[in-house]
């Protein structure tokens, strides 16, 4: 295999505006961004609640959440597949092999990452943050908002980590999405398919985009943290 020629072909595909390739990129980003928009607000709120509330079973929930960080995405895909398949509990919704199914899967994958990182960010906050907000008369929601703002770089790290995990995951997307061209084919499933067919150019081009997305996300976080550090 001529690596140089294949890579050149990959970049030609990218910059020639190859419709199929850009559709795959669009589907990938659309699914992952929507999944993040759905998952982040409740997960950050839950993370804050678990970090600050005190009730029986709280510790067990935190341990389970942290354990779920390592859950294989293919297992989440399998469970979701069983739930969404025609005989499954949610079979009547006819969601299997749709972008919606992929979004649900990615929400489930993102949730423990967001919750666990938010817990860690809030628990790491200076105790005086909440006490000062309480003493100055902030409402419960106001205290939560102030605390999350004060630890916003930790919360942003949660969001970027979760996004990095779902945009690059393949197991769940493949199982509940079905890798249907133009519908549910995203970057990771396309790379796997193209590579298995011996079509390396598209695989490399998509891999390059995925890498670029991951780097952009990390640069954004580093930039934000750098700015925060100088304040």
């Amino acid at each position: 295999m001529d690596w140089l020629a294949t890579t050149r072909e990959a970049f030609a595909l990218l910059f020639s505006g190859d419709a199929e390739l850009w559709q795959i990129i669009y589907i990938s980003l659309r699914v992952s961004v929507l999944a993040m928009l759905i998952a982040a607000p409740p997960a950050i709120a839950l993370g804050y609640f678990l970090a600050t509330a005190s009730f029986p079973g709280r510790r067990a929930i935190i341990i389970v959440t942290q354990g779920l960080l390592a859950s294989p995405t293919v297992v989440i895909g399998l469970i979701l597949y069983l739930l969404l398949s025609r005989q499954g509990i949610f079979g009547s919704l006819k969601l299997l092999f749709t972008q919606e199914a992929m979004i649900i899967g990615q929400v489930l994958i993102a949730l423990p990452v967001l919750v666990a990182f938010t817990i860690s960010a809030v628990q790491g906050a200076d105790a005086r943050v909440r006490e000062t907000a309480i003493s100055l008369g902030a409402s419960r929601a106001g205290v939560a908002w102030t605390t999350l703002l004060e630890v916003r770089f930790g919360v942003m790290a949660a969001v970027f980590n979760a996004f990095g995990r779902i945009v690059s995951e393949i197991g769940c997307s493949l199982m509940v999405g079905g890798n249907i061209a133009g519908v549910t084919r995203n970057i990771p499933t396309a790379i796997a398919l193209e590579t298995s067919k011996g079509e390396f150019a598209q695989g490399i081009a998509l891999g390059f985009v995925l890498l670029l997305v991951a780097l952009a996300v990390n640069f954004a976080l580093a930039f934000a943290q750098g700015e925060g550090g100088t304040r």
Binding site: R128, T132, I134, L149, E150, R231
Partner: protein, 225 residues
């Protein structure tokens, strides 16, 4: 004599076998300043935190402005009247003005009214020259002055200040002392935990000496259990 601003009976708190607070009775009058003295670990900070609702304790009965109140649940009306300032105050990210406006915003005050009060508070604390400095970059003394302004702008009836002059250089200490002296008016009371002799010996300052969680016999303060 008018009714006390705050009157608490039977304050008890312990960690395991170790008693942290054991106070039979504590009364604070409006228009008066009190200084809590005592060794480290004698319970000064814990008492201030219990009175501000940041820490729990067993309390037999408590009245504020003559009304019975449960410090454990700390109702919103009481929160508006009592304010606690940490020994090392925390300033939120943002400007000095943002910090001073925080409590006023929480009370839903209109922008125009709020901005006027914030301007006055900035002038009171003498931090006009620092307006462009991010709050978290201020020195210890500057943070303390902003925190006092942030508390005073809310016009609470009871200020609970934890060692406001500790670890400050001479100039910052003088500036902070000037503000602390200025806090108490006829309508409010100030309680300071303090080791600072100059504050302890201020005229009109009532001294409440704490030892092993108890308050010693002092004018207008309670006897220990």
């Amino acid at each position: 004599m008018s009714a006390p601003l705050l009157s608490v009976e039977g304050i008890r708190k312990s960690y395991g076998a170790r008693s942290i607070l054991d106070i039979d009775r504590l009364e604070l009058l409006a228009g008066e300043s009190y200084v809590l003295t005592g060794e480290n670990g004698s319970g000064k900070t814990t008492l201030l935190r219990v009175l501000s609702g940041l820490e729990g304790a067993e309390i037999a009965s408590c009245r504020f402005e003559g009304k019975a109140v449960d410090l454990g649940s700390y109702p919103a009306w009481l929160r508006e009247k009592v304010i606690y300032v940490h020994q090392h105050p925390y300033l939120f990210r943002g400007s000095i003005a943002d910090n001073i406006a925080y409590g006023l915003k929480a009370r839903g005050m209109r922008d125009v009214e709020r901005e006027a009060l914030v301007r006055q508070a900035i002038a009171w604390a003498g931090v006009e020259a620092l307006l462009d400095v991010p709050a978290q970059r201020l020195s210890g003394g500057e943070k303390q002055r902003v925190a006092l302004a942030r508390a005073r702008v809310l016009h609470p009836r009871l200020f609970l200040l934890d060692e406001p002059t500790a670890n400050l250089d001479a100039e910052s200490r003088q500036q902070t002392m000037r503000l602390v002296r200025d806090l108490c008016d006829a309508d409010s009371a100030v309680v300071l935990a303090c080791h600072d002799r100059e504050i302890i010996e201020l005229p009109h300052m009532h001294r409440l000496h704490m030892e092993k969680g108890c308050i010693g016999v002092m004018p207008r303060a309670s006897a220990c259990a």
